[in-house]
């Protein structure tokens, strides 16, 4: 920044941040335990390198790349919702089976009752919202720990799901619109339109933010750093889009497979929307405040119970979204959908991405990044070993590692005064 604007008093001379000071500050933050997305990015890179080295043909194929994105989507959606609950310092252990139960409602309505798909989706999402409302009311109004409430829901909802599905076992889903969510790809030119929108949107928001702060004589990040971020994003999405716009079908003459999977733009919409909610609205600010110090939030006049209830509703509604994705990907809903380790992977995704289990720290994009790490493990491990024993143990160790990193960085942050 050339002309450092100065307020009317010399004490308030605004020092605009330079590239040097920004980098220095970043490293100071990392050393102070505020590691953010660093472990997830490094973890993802090393996993990709490792699996590519082990299975160059099967792991590092375009088909598997697209497959990996789809695989991660269910976990990412549950995880994005869980971020809200984790930020409060709470947990929702029932989010996985909420996905299954809502998915079962969707499948039964579509297949058994012939309901139009928009109505079925609406009822499916409302099922999730209602579950979240109930959990939230019990936690916030009665004061029962969310761990216990959601554990009860974890068991109870599996019963509800069996009851909804009936004795038949598996409900097939044949609706084309639902199936295309996880199975169709965008036409390649449309993919490039998306790239322009994403990069352009990010650039506009970032640069406008910098300009606005400079105009109001507030310290702003250096324009060089801003451009560096924009160009990095542009390179990343261009490479991904270019790769996925290539033909990846095993037999291109039979079926052509190219273009970004539709789940990519859908995920981006939710990522942007929920990020806006958390970082730019007073609701989001109150979520962080409650996670940081619930007593302070209460004294500041924040409706703590109200915010808690809304967060549980968001979490369960996002789980219901994931239920739609399960139905689309599996072409069916079975009593085991969303069960087993689904919830643990979603919590793991959030924590690996940098969301703290202690509350008050984390972003929506952490869930997406962590979801990719978790999906990469789930995708790559079966390629190098068919032993379930190894897969369980390795996944467990990764989760434990992420939680340990969270605890250690928190301790480091407490010691050095960063957060």
């Amino acid at each position: 920044m050339t002309d450092a604007p100065v307020l009317d008093t010399e004490e308030l001379a605004v020092e605009q941040m330079t590239v040097k000071s920004s980098i220095r500050e970043y490293f100071a933050r990392v050393r102070g335990g505020e590691i953010g997305a660093l472990p997830a990015v490094l973890g993802l890179l090393s996993l990709v390198v490792f699996f590519t080295a082990m299975e160059p043909d099967r792991f590092a194929s375009l088909l598997n790349f697209a497959n990996l994105i789809n695989q991660s989507a269910m976990i990412v959606f549950i995880s994005m919702g869980l971020v809200f609950v984790l930020l409060l310092g709470q947990i929702d252990l029932s989010a996985g089976v909420t996905a299954g139960t809502s998915g079962a409602v969707l499948a039964v309505l579509l297949t058994n009752h012939g309901v139009a798909w928009p109505v079925a989706i609406g009822v499916c999402l409302l099922t999730g919202t209602a579950i979240g409302l109930t959990i939230g009311l019990i936690v916030a109004r009665l004061g029962v720990p969310s761990f216990v409430v959601s554990l009860a829901f974890f068991l109870g909802l599996q019963g509800v799901m069996l009851w909804v599905i009936g004795e038949g076992g598996t409900i097939p889903v044949r609706n084309d619109t639902i199936l295309s969510i996880m199975n169709a790809n965008m036409a390649p030119p449309l993919g490039w339109v998306l790239v322009v929108l994403v990069v352009g949107g990010y650039a506009a928001v970032t640069l406008a933010g910098v300009r606005n702060r400079v105009r109001h004589r507030l310290p702003a990040q250096s324009a060089t750093i801003a451009w560096f971020k924009i160009i990095s994003l542009a390179v990343l999405v261009t490479v991904v889009t270019y790769l996925l716009n290539q033909e990846r079908s095993v037999n291109p003459d039979l079926t052509s497979l190219k273009g970004l999977p539709y789940i990519v733009p859908i995920s981006i919409v939710f990522l942007v929307g929920l990020t806006f909610l958390l970082s730019r609205t007073s609701f989001g600010r109150h979520v962080y405040a409650i996670g940081g110090n619930v007593e302070a939030a209460r004294r500041a006049g924040i409706n703590v119970a109200g915010v808690q209830i809304i967060c549980f509703m968001i979490c369960s509604t996002m789980a219901a979204m994931s239920g739609i994705l399960f139905a689309s990907r599996d072409n069916s809903i079975s009593p085991s959908t969303g069960g087993s380790i689904t919830l643990l992977l979603a919590v793991g995704a959030a924590v690996i991405g940098g969301v703290s289990l202690y509350g008050g720290k984390g972003r929506v994009r952490d869930a997406m990044l962590g979801g990719l790490v978790v999906a990469t493990i789930a995708n790559g491990l079966p390629l190098i070993t068919s032993a379930s024993s190894v897969q369980f143990i390795v996944t467990a160790m990764v989760l434990l590692l992420a939680a340990a990193v969270d605890a250690l960085s928190r301790r480091r942050a407490a010691a050095t005064g960063h957060f």
């Binding site: 307020l7 008093t9 004490e11 308030l12 102070g32 606005n212 702060r213 109001h216 507030l218 310290p219 730019r280 609205t281 007073s282 600010r285 109150h286 962080y288 405040a289 996670g291 940081g292 110090n293 007593e295 302070a296 939030a297 004294r299 500041a300 006049g301 924040i302 008050g360 720290k361 942050a413 407490a414 050095t416 005064g417 960063h418 957060f419």
Partner: protein
């Protein structure tokens, strides 16, 4: 800005009472706080200081008594009533969120918005201006997370938050209790600043040095009764300690259950 000449109190309590079950915690307490003045409220543990503050703040309203703000009787039954009048309380345990930055903490629960979005620019400017007006020069950036601040700086943020809203009466509950010497100095000078800026300040402390450093007048509570309310200049350390521990000191204080108030 000091308006000591005009003797209308900013906040005036007459004969307030508060009981918890059979325990009569406040007995007919009279308190006046004047604009531009620091009133130190002292008393032993259990003397009723906290109960008095909670009554003023509205979080535990008084059972009976007269509560007047700027000469008009008010009904203060919730913290919102008190903030609406311009009465802010800075509690001992700070009520600050470590994971948020200084600006976010100062505007917590009362965020400024433009549309549905937070108006970060205006909040940051107002926070900076308020801190500057209070001559706070110890914060390098208002975007620092509060967790990285020292105890004195955190107390400064808590006090600045109370001032931000054009408040008229600020109640400080033991703001120096956990601070070192230099930081105590900082906070005390900030307390003086508040009074000089035309606020009425109620300052609660156990530390007599701090009390005499900032107080214009000293009110002593003894077992729920007002033992004495006198200008700090007319009292000595020893007298205040006696008032706190025995409720009386020579001719001052409670005589046979009656309190003597010397005109100020």
């Amino acid at each position: 800005m000091t308006t000591n000449g005009d003797r209308q109190p900013a906040l005036s309590l007459r004969g307030v009472n508060k009981s918890f079950g059979a325990v009569h915690v406040l007995k007919n307490v009279d308190i006046d706080v004047y604009t531009g003045e620091v009133l130190a409220l002292v008393g032993d543990n259990g003397a009723g200081k906290s109960t008095l503050i909670k009554g003023i703040a509205g979080s535990q309203p008084f059972d009976s008594g007269f509560y007047a703000f700027e000469g008009h009787e008010q009904r203060v039954h919730s913290p919102k009533d008190a903030s609406a009048l311009g009465i802010e309380v800075v509690y001992q345990d700070l009520a600050i969120c470590d994971n948020l930055d200084v600006v976010h903490n100062m505007f917590l629960g009362r965020e400024l918005r433009s549309g549905i979005m937070l108006d970060e620019i205006t909040m940051e400017r107002q926070a900076t201006e308020t801190l500057h007006r209070l001559s706070v020069r110890t914060l390098s950036s208002v975007r620092m997370a509060v967790a990285s601040l020292s105890g004195g700086q955190r107390q400064t943020v808590a006090i600045a938050r109370a001032v931000l809203w054009n408040s008229k009466v600020v109640v400080l509950d033991e703001p120096t209790a956990a601070l070192g010497v230099a930081q105590t100095e900082q906070v005390l000078s900030l307390v003086r600043q508040l009074a000089e800026r035309g606020l009425a300040v109620i300052f609660i402390s156990h530390n007599m040095n701090d009390v005499f450093a900032v107080a214009d007048r000293i009110a002593t509570l003894y077992l729920g009764e007002l033992a004495a309310e006198l200008p700090a200049s007319e009292l000595t350390h020893t007298q205040v300690v006696e008032l706190i521990t025995a409720g009386r000191s020579g001719a001052l204080g409670l005589q046979n259950g009656e309190s003597t108030e010397v005109a100020t």
